[in-house]
């Protein structure tokens, strides 16, 4: 298969030489690979954006999952922000609450758009709809934001992994937060290289993050990991826009993530056998939800 870029290095070089944003390179590659027209591709992403908007709106109204483990935190955060005394700032908390809103909808078996997975679906839309109020993008620019995240995600998925079962949470919320950081930079007027730096800065702080869902549900700690993923994305983007660079090149950071994922024991890769899932409370919650008898309760597997 002929592609325009296989690494972040190639992606940035192409954007620089063509003097185009990364989102544009992604659109061109999509046209090349799928032989579809630009209009069709944009229309599909527009639809995905609408799904994201609706999920955020639904979550901000308050939802609850069947298990009762998650729901309502997005509402709590919005009410707290309305009081005007936040420490970390309204834009950051807005991103956090909207990431939480999306993941609460996901946990409640609502309709979402995977970015790049369902478990990490909050971070990309959460950050987008928060920076929207500050940067006032057009609808087209918001669609481009998603293509930029997709370009970085494409490299990660093909060179490492975006699956928690294969690479732990670093592959899911780690990838999503890094992808979002890169897109925020582009929307804020940063260079392609700064997008890559933002990606690296965030990913370096996600390395080693395990996938240990309580009762095997995409709820605890997934919703809060989306919250913090959104926060890291914004901070990472600001750092890159300030001119901070990563000493380790982006593709090598992605390579490190891949190797760390491969050396993670299976108990920490979405089997619900280790980490938080194996805590006394994690197990008690599981017993309560599934009625005790479970394949996950073998303490020797730790």
């Amino acid at each position: 298969m002929e592609v325009l870029f296989k690494s972040v290095k190639e992606l940035v070089a192409l954007a620089e030489s063509k003097e185009k944003p990364i989102s544009e390179i992604m659109i061109e590659q999509e046209m090349l690979i799928t032989k579809r027209s630009r209009e069709e591709i944009i229309a599909q992403m527009d639809h995905n954006l609408t799904v994201m908007e609706e999920a955020v709106e639904k979550g901000l109204q308050g939802v609850e999952s069947t298990s009762g483990l998650t729901g309502g935190d997005a509402v709590l955060l919005q009410k707290y922000m309305e009081k005007g005394n936040t420490l970390s700032g309204n834009l950051l908390l807005d991103a956090v609450s909207k990431a939480v809103a999306t993941n609460e909808v996901n946990a409640a078996m609502g309709t979402i758009c995977a970015t790049p997975t369902a478990g990490a679906a909050g971070i990309v839309p959460g950050t987008l709809f928060a920076v929207k109020d500050k940067l006032n993008p057009t609808r087209e620019q918001m669609i481009h934001y998603l293509f930029t995240t997709g370009a970085f995600g494409f490299v990660v998925a093909n060179n490492a992994s975006i699956s928690g079962a294969a690479g732990g949470c670093q592959a899911e919320t780690g990838s999503a937060g890094s992808m979002a950081a890169a897109a925020i930079v582009e929307m804020a007027g940063g260079t392609p290289q700064q997008s890559a730096e933002a990606f690296s800065i965030v990913m370096k702080n996600m390395l080693g993050l395990v996938c240990d869902p309580v009762a095997g549900l995409v709820e605890v700690p997934c919703v809060k990991r989306n919250a913090m993923g959104a926060a890291k994305a914004l901070v990472g983007a600001d750092m890159a826009l300030a001119g901070v660079v990563s000493r380790i090149p982006t593709d090598e950071v992605i390579g490190a993530m891949h190797r760390i994922g491969q050396s993670m024991p299976s108990a920490l890769r979405e089997t619900a056998k280790g980490g938080l899932a194996a805590t006394p409370t994690g197990k008690a919650l599981e017993a309560k939800i599934f009625g005790g008898a479970s394949v996950n309760s073998d303490p020797a597997s730790l």
């Binding site: 309709t111 997975t117 293509f147 709820e219 089997t271 394949v295």
Partner: protein, 220 residues
């Protein structure tokens, strides 16, 4: 490259909660239904690795049944798949297995009715994408990204060339091709992913080739 489209990354639009355990699982069920070609009367589903450990929490079971009912990943009816199956008399059983498979998210689906049984093994590779790795005992790799032709045939010299020639004569481009066999000279399976949807005329031409036993297609 396993992930080819930007919509493999930003997508699919789906019913939560997990892209690999819900959307990917629904897609494995749905491709089994498509290859089987009709609504099965019963299904036995064997789950391995993370699928076996966490299928209840992720709705993997309702998603696979939804797929076997031909529901797409974003179809709200996935939530009521068990009830829907019961209404049409489609029975199913799940077996969480302890055996370790190469991929952590593996499902083996056996479906059947009075006319025949089919066995398919699929893996969910992340972000809602899946691959079929085994069909009726034949190892293969099928992504469901392209329209595909499945040709069951005797393992004979020159047969692959004659199938490829028949396609070339019609201007059909082969995107990817795999051939698997159980034993030398015995039954074999050819999986051909193509760029265009195959019409019935093409299928008839392939069916009359010597040593070809069965031809079926999967639309994109």
């Amino acid at each position: 490259m396993k992930f080819r489209s930007v919509f493999d990354i930003i997508g699919p639009v789906m019913i939560g909660p997990s892209s690999s355990h819900t959307a990917g699982a629904a897609r494995i069920g749905r491709i089994a239904r498509t290859i089987y070609g009709r609504q099965p009367e019963w299904a036995k589903i064997y789950l391995y690795g993370s699928f076996a450990e966490t299928y209840k929490g992720h709705g993997t079971d309702v998603a696979i049944i939804g797929g076997l009912l031909d529901y797409d990943t974003f179809d709200e009816r996935i939530k009521t798949a068990f009830e829907d199956a019961e209404k049409i008399g489609f029975t199913f059983e799940f077996f969480p297995e302890e055996e370790e498979k190469e991929h952590p998210n593996t499902a083996k689906i056996v479906v059947g009715d009075k006319d025949g049984v089919m066995e398919l093994t699929g893996i969910s590779i992340g972000g809602g994408k899946m691959e079929v790795v085994e069909l009726n005992g034949f190892p293969l790799r099928l992504s469901g990204n392209y329209p595909a032709l499945l040709v069951v045939h005797q393992d004979r010299a020159g047969l692959i060339a004659s199938v490829a020639n028949a396609l070339a004569n019609k201007g059909v481009n082969i995107a990817h091709m795999e051939v698997g066999r159980k034993e030398k000279g015995e039954m074999a399976l050819m999986v051909i992913e193509v760029d265009h949807i195959i019409d019935d005329e093409m299928l008839s031409e392939l069916r009359v080739l010597p040593h070809v036993t069965e031809v079926s297609t999967i639309a994109e």
